[in-house]
């Protein structure tokens, strides 16, 4: 009798369920919450109120947060504007630049594994007379700089390439991309949501002109983000996409979310102080998880470059096991899958498909997103549990059996359905 109910023991100090999906969102750091609390209650002023202490207090808090963010990414407070989150930041950057520089050109370059906030903003522009080039990625998930060089033409106004990918955690060569853009006089925007606070990110060293930042990916609150907009060499201008009171130097109207902004600032301050040690810690946990899985299981495929990767990311395909069935077996562990069955569209992950992987490998993928609050004991439990369930599901898998018998699965005429 084969039974899937796992017998893996829960080690002392480990509380279920375990959260290991930190690319989706991260828990609020208690220090961040503490910093935010007064701005929900006694310090409730509108940062735009110029005539009383409530407003001044709120404005002061916002300016402190601006400086905390600026410090983390190597810029000045004047170059940070606040938004409702990274989706808004990406929309504002891409649509705002496209609109502002329309007379100079109508060509935008991005790449296929970007977040939907970037891809869908570009698609929107395509309907309005813009031309968009979607660069492919290599098998390791990185773009080829030569492809970018060749794609830039005299109508190119913007290049938007993410710093770190949200599914496979690979780090694009943004410093080189930015250098190339500057040589060609093209604005460089990067969706830096997954990399800010995780790996060194400096807008000067990385030649970045515009960068999207999110609060809740770095142990800050949801509903708040920022956009870095360069003011010198080159000065970047952005057409507002939300009109109103002219807040944020006219680029983004709307009453500022003071508690959220305070939280984002505090999260950046903590990241600035702890990122170096935290990165070593997370890479250690990630490598431990990977080594354990590889020591017990065959037919494992790591998706994307291991060399150029966020320290807390591991994206693996357990080939011949379908991702959703694996998630069902490890239901006390929160992770994500690139399987079609877990998506609203019933399509497997477009990021994994872009790496040239077959749909079958995409269906078998699991994304582990390790974060600040994960422990070694949790990693050990998760590894044991995944190994246990994968082995059980492979006993159930006709594909695994056939491969073990030496049958070439590509030679079978599968009935499409």
């Amino acid at each position: 009798m084969s039974t899937i109910a796992s017998q893996v023991e829960v080690p002392e100090g480990v509380h279920l369920p375990i959260y290991m999906d930190n690319h989706a969102t991260s828990p609020l750091d208690p220090r961040v919450l503490e910093a935010m609390m007064p701005y929900f209650t006694t310090k409730f002023g509108n940062a735009a109120s110029r005539n009383h202490s409530f407003g001044w207090e709120a404005e002061q808090a916002v300016e402190t947060a601006r400086e905390q963010i600026a410090k983390l990414i190597g810029t000045t407070a004047k170059e940070i504007i606040f938004t409702s989150g990274a989706t808004e930041s990406d929309n504002l950057a891409i649509k705002g630049i496209a609109e502002m520089y329309r007379e100079r050109g109508n060509h935008i370059i991005t790449q296929v594994t970007e977040h939907k906030a970037v891809l869908d903003s570009c698609k929107h522009l395509e309907k309005n007379g813009y031309r968009v080039t979607y660069l492919p990625v290599k098998a390791d998930g990185l773009i080829d700089l030569d492809d970018l060089r060749h794609a830039i033409d005299d109508k190119t106004i913007l290049v938007s390439i993410m710093a770190a990918n949200n599914e496979i955690g690979v780090l694009q060569p943004i410093a080189e991309i930015g250098k190339l853009c500057h040589e060609k006089g093209v604005i460089f925007h990067t969706d830096a949501v997954q990399s800010v606070g995780k790996v060194p990110f400096n807008v000067i060293a990385d030649n970045v002109d515009v960068a999207s930042i999110s609060g809740h990916k770095i142990y800050g609150p949801k509903g708040v983000g920022a956009l870095y907009v360069r003011r010198r060499n080159p000065r970047v201008q952005i057409a507002a996409q939300i009109d109103g009171g002219g807040h944020e130097r006219g680029m983004r109207s709307g009453t500022l979310n003071v508690p959220g902004i305070v939280g984002l600032g505090k999260a950046c301050e903590i990241a600035n102080a702890e990122m170096a040690t935290e990165a070593v810690y997370l890479a250690g946990l990630r490598d431990r998880l990977k080594a354990k899985l590889e020591s017990e299981l065959d037919y494992i495929h790591v998706n994307g470059s291991m060399e150029h990767r966020l320290p807390g990311n591991l994206n693996v395909s357990f080939v011949y096991v379908e991702g959703e069935s694996l998630l069902m077996g490890i239901n006390d562990v929160a992770v994500s899958s690139g399987s079609a069955c877990t998506s609203a569209t019933l399509e497997p992950s477009y990021v994994l498909k872009a790496l040239g992987l077959g749909d079958d490998v995409a269906h078998s993928s699991i994304r582990f997103g390790l974060g600040r609050f994960n422990t070694q004991a949790e990693v050990d439990y998760v590894a044991a549990k995944v190994i246990d369930i994968v082995k059980h599901l492979r006993e159930l898998s006709p594909l695994y059996e056939m491969v073990k018998e030496g049958i070439d699965l590509t030679k079978i005429q599968w009935a499409a359905h």
């Binding site: 899937i4 019933l346 006709p398 079978i412």
Partner: protein, 141 residues
């Protein structure tokens, strides 16, 4: 997604997992689905040549929990039935029994296809018993 208790039960304790000797004339094999679609079911039956009753049924499935549950349930239902009787099982019966949501209906369709494919394979073998190799007709040579 929330799974019904019956899906969870079949997932945790799948019935009739395994394989039968596909070269036997008493055995019919159905292999349906495709790896790139995210689900493949192999369902096998061993039929008593005298009574035409399915005496044994085995499955293996690559797919989500609902696909595993649908095929596990299918093996339970066809065991003890005659082949003609088993052909009467409809995917809608599986949907109802497992309370599958609309996005998982294709899992039940695949299970019905697997039953039909296994029975079809057995019938093909037994109408031309000398061509035993037909049992592996799904494997393109």
């Amino acid at each position: 997604m929330a799974y019904s208790d019956k899906v969870i039960d079949h997932y945790n304790n799948p019935r009739n997992v395994g394989q039968l000797d596909k070269s036997s004339t008493e055995v019919g094999t159905g292999l349906v689905g495709a790896p790139e679609c995210g689900d493949v079911m192999r369902l096998q039956i061993r039929v008593n040549p005298e009574t035409q009753v399915i005496e044994e049924a085995k499955f293996k499935t690559f797919g989500c929990g609902s696909a595993i549950a649908s095929s596990s349930l299918a093996t339970e239902w066809i065991k003890g039935r005659t082949v003609d009787d088993a052909l009467g099982i409809k995917n809608t019966d599986i949907v109802k029994e497992l309370s599958l949501p609309p996005v998982k209906i294709h899992c039940s369709v695949l299970a019905e296809d697997a039953i039909r494919a296994a029975i079809g394979d057995w019938k093909k073998k037994n109408s031309a018993a000398e061509t035993v190799d037909a049992a592996v007709a799904v494997v393109a040579q």
